[in-house]
Amino acid sequence: MGTIDSRFRILAAAMLGAAPILASAASPAELRAQFEAAAREAEPAYAGLSASRGEQFFRSRHGSEWSCASCHTDNPLSAGRHAKTAKDIAPLAPAANPKRFTDAARVEKWLRRNCNDVLGRACTPREKGDVLAYLMSLK
């Protein structure tokens, strides 16, 4: 009993620990390169990511109630606050928060939700890449 139980626990712990890493470990630079490659594929005439376009995008309301900055602030090096629930949000810029953009599945999940809230649609690869270029430019 004891050994089966503890073996199962070790196995479960190993699976829990390893699965997310195998599935989606990444670095901000890798994710930026992936967005850039996808953007190039979608728009052959595309001239590369732009941090300043990303900043504009980040601060614009796009005709809705919220911009990205509504929850992540105009200065993503500092902590944000959820515009509706007031819950604290850790800084979004990788320089201020090394956990950011290190889990591809997590990044995609939040971009899916947040782009839908702000733009009423998914973000394009170029928009994602520009935002990440902007966030990575902050030091």
């Binding site: 959820h82 509706k84 939700r113 947040n114 809230d117």
Partner: protein, 160 residues
């Protein structure tokens, strides 16, 4: 004669056991009102605690949780959609520990239930509107240990 000598310790034991049991029951009943920390699930805590405190499963009945989980993509004015695997695990957890009493609410809001309104009828209207609270759903503005499932009086601080 021998009998009474034997009965005294027996009576004492019965008394002690019932007093201890009674106290335990009382403590349990008191805890039941404000300590929801016994029901924990890592995925629920991470996913449902990202935008607000992870509301304890004990505060809504299973049908209400089912409705909340069925429309996460349109969740109180925001997109909280989850992948199907996470949604199934969290849904099962919520329904397993759901309220057994009739705390149902069509809106899926805990703060719309008669129970919530009764428990909070002494909170002044100005406090609900204050910048620190903003919304009655912001439990942690007053219940400082809401994140841990503790809604007891000792961790309660009303913001001014």
């Amino acid at each position: 004669m021998n009998d009474t000598v034997k009965r005294l310790p027996f009576d004492l034991t019965v008394w002690t056991v019932s007093i201890v049991a009674g106290l335990a029951l009382l403590a349990h009943e008191a805890m039941a009102g404000h300590d929801f920390s016994s029901a924990r699930n890592a995925r629920w805590q991470a996913e449902c605690g990202a935008c607000h405190v992870a509301y304890p499963p004990q505060l809504l009945p299973a049908p209400a949780w089912h409705r909340v989980m069925a429309r996460l993509d349109r969740h109180f004015g925001t997109d909280a959609s989850l992948d199907p695997g996470a949604a199934a695990e969290i849904g099962a957890f919520l329904e397993r520990h759901a309220a057994r009493t009739s705390r149902d609410t069509a809106s899926g809001r805990i703060t719309d239930t008669g129970w919530f309104v009764r428990e909070h009828d002494e909170v002044p209207a100005a406090t609900w509107r204050s910048a620190a609270v903003k919304s009655p759903a912001n439990c942690a503005a007053c219940h400082r240990r809401a994140e841990q499932g503790d809604f007891g009086e000792r961790s309660l601080r009303l913001p001014r």
